[in-house]
Symmetry: C2
Subunit: 547 residues, 2 copies
Amino acid sequence: MKIAVCQINPVIGDINGNKEKILKGYQKATEDGADIAVFPELSLTGYPPLDFVEKKAFRVKVNKANLELAAATNAKTALIFGSITEFEDNVGTNIENSSLFCIEGKISVIQNKSLIPNYDVFDEVRYFEAASEVKVFEFRGETIGLSVCEDIWNDEDYWKKRMYPVDPVKKQIEKGATLLINISASPYSYGKRKARYKMLSTLTKQDNVKLVYTCCAAAQTELIFDGASMCFDEEGNLARLGKTFCEDYFIFDTDIKYPPILTVESSFEEEVHNALIFGLKDYCNKLNFKSVCLGLSGGIDSAIVAYFAVKALDKESVYVTLMPSEFSSEGSIADSLKLVENLGIKHNIIPIQPVFETVKQMLDPLFNNKPEDVTEENMQSRIRGLYMMAISNKFNHLLVTTGNKSELATGYATLYGDMCGGLAIIGDVYKTDVYRLCEFINRDEEILPREIIDKVPSAELRPNQTDQDSLPPYPVLDKILRMYLEENKELDEIAPGIGDRELVKKMLNLVDRNEFKRKQGAPVLRVSNKAFGYGRRFPIVQRWSRE
Amino acid sequence: MKIAVCQINPVIGDINGNKEKILKGYQKATEDGADIAVFPELSLTGYPPLDFVEKKAFRVKVNKANLELAAATNAKTALIFGSITEFEDNVGTNIENSSLFCIEGKISVIQNKSLIPNYDVFDEVRYFEAASEVKVFEFRGETIGLSVCEDIWNDEDYWKKRMYPVDPVKKQIEKGATLLINISASPYSYGKRKARYKMLSTLTKQDNVKLVYTCCAAAQTELIFDGASMCFDEEGNLARLGKTFCEDYFIFDTDIKYPPILTVESSFEEEVHNALIFGLKDYCNKLNFKSVCLGLSGGIDSAIVAYFAVKALDKESVYVTLMPSEFSSEGSIADSLKLVENLGIKHNIIPIQPVFETVKQMLDPLFNNKPEDVTEENMQSRIRGLYMMAISNKFNHLLVTTGNKSELATGYATLYGDMCGGLAIIGDVYKTDVYRLCEFINRDEEILPREIIDKVPSAELRPNQTDQDSLPPYPVLDKILRMYLEENKELDEIAPGIGDRELVKKMLNLVDRNEFKRKQGAPVLRVSNKAFGYGRRFPIVQRWSRE
């Protein structure tokens, strides 16, 4: 059997556009003599469609497109795509997240999703009901079991602790499935692809079954879907692997013995590098931004974001602005200019001092000689935000933010200042990982100037300021943050590994207290298993206290 | 039987503080000879605890407090409170949202929540499993059925369309319950109290059962819980009704025949007025803000928010700033000063022109004589935001935003400009409803100057600008928005009632396109059944199109 794996990039809500994309892939599969063409989870609506699902007019349009897609199928090639279906009842949402198997002009089999994820970035119980039955069916000598994303993530033999009491895929195997076809929209985070490979390899080997996993390659605001569709033979070998972070199309022929693919994931640096570039690129594509702007501080964060912008678009489309103040070091300008030259991008220099002076003068009667404090520090950052938003507005550039995860966590950022922007490129990357990414980028030649990488991190908002005046050294801070955020540990679990309980306590309280800033921050491209934003939900008003 | 209804205001995460509050109420109930003291849903943790529930250290602390509360009970008065409980299993979250009945030093009955809401602002499936059984038990001559919030909202006889297949309360009645005790944290929206009254009155009358509904009186960031606890006799009469928007404590004696209470809700204006004042007040209390600041534009929105701030705190704690520009009308200043006088608050005047000129001058080389456009309009708004944030930082005032729901919906607001602030006071109130609230406030005397109410709405960011240059008249706009947002209708359902399909289409697209602004907006106090923020989830990157 020949299966065409169609790893597309759907746009949420663009039913007609997605339909055309599916039709195009299906036609190619037919030309290639495929028995089946497979598309990802909710490929017709884009994933996640969120509250669009609650809109009747949306579902009506989707249903119409479901029928049109089915009607377009021939007798040669079956089409499997992901969409929403509905049923009549007076209890519940009556909406399903479905895999539709179409052939000869008709929807022949519908398998609804059985396991409805509702954790981290997933809110599917809000919309979808669980499948009431799990089927298999015969097709050209294979017994096929269809499933949707989460359905393959609950193997009793594999997981010590499971999220759901049922295992739909096991049921399909018990019913004699020889070929499992899973359609997915599985959000990327580093390490997940390897985990998926291991799980699916174990499953297929153990149950002596073939498996096709098809995932979209898309960025949807903060969520990145990496593609990397996987086809396994019944011995647990990975026979075919889709490209990462881009659309792909390939044939998996079950009669061919492929050499097993053993490596599914690159280094952390390479993976995250590629993920962030794709995330920014797809955001611009889908919202029709032709250019990006950002402020260059002379520090490592804005430098690496400028680099990512050039990779995501091209050097002609990236506009950087240097906004020095009285507290900017000589190096800040010189180093930024070196970066500008290395990247071959356009730049402007607009000092903030005259505006800073005017603002202070205007507020003087009210501030009445009160000593300068964090107010004036924030003011400088906000004047830069004002400049950058003016530039963004005037030229229709997308302004991107340059804050990293360590800063966002501790609130070491100015709301409405350096936090201005439409997308936070490295908001899910710790400062120490930013350094690792820099070394990766510079592996063959010095793209990011060494001076920028080596300098002591500073916000340069007062004389001789360094980040370490307010924060512990980044290796220590990031160790604390990683345990707190990613591993969901608390003070007493974190403190022993750090050796300074008071410091850990101070940092955790800082993270909690700065929830109000993050709530108003730009969407963060997610590359870890716990990013700030949609998947992490803490109240602003709270008094959780640590003794 | 004497039941003490303890309508408290818990702080999320403050386990010790909430425990003390429960103990205090319980002691009073004992002194008053009550058989039972009842506290709201999750009264020990505060509602909604969100991802705190996923934290093991949090659950350990809660469990310890559960046992301490139980240990503090005597033989005279039973204690019912809401908390989290856990059980051991290797499938699922194993966490429950529970009602605990304690007496004589022990937890005697635990009834877990059966219906786990996961729509609008509710995400409870993320944390809680549904109860595996529904019980009743005997206590001093009554057969008691405990339930938690949502459990009473699924009556088969009452609702044409239900959300859940089971009805736990019906089961308790079938098991012979004579007294239903429901603990709740039911988010306020106008009209909901009346709906609740009608539903509970029908239920108690029909099934000939008494019912005690205890709700918290709290504001938790955007969510407001109005209290208004209700006690029904078995004839469906409302015997006791708690105060609204404040803590309360009262005894419901089932042996007394109370005169039925027939009115549970005041006018829209009075209710929303009180809700917003409570929402702001509790935000300040819980985050320890002693003062509020805001910018006064001379328009109705900032005027009414200044009034709410005075009511929530006091006139000594409200600081307003007038920030005129070359486009400010004469009236703007004079009218604002009249308001300042009426409210008896402190004010400053800080013109933005010098900063505006300096910023334009600094950007001039880059902008290179490009004509002025929305860039310069936003710039003025952002300079005001810069001023206000400086004032907020310097004096530790809470800056509140003054945008209304019509503006937030259409994006008629400047990100990082007038959208700066920690809490959006009237962000869930349409412009036309702002007018209604003004008339209510002025019902006895002119507090909000007539000139402000009567003037043509304008952002005053360019010469002779009015809101209606960009938007349809507010009565038309709000009619469209209400159908779109609250009633979830689409173009073809809305257009006939408006008569201008193109206009409706333009407005709906405007709402969708401005999702990016709202994502970075301040939390909005929720008073309708569909507010912007947590309960309404649409993607920023999407291409839903209307033909």
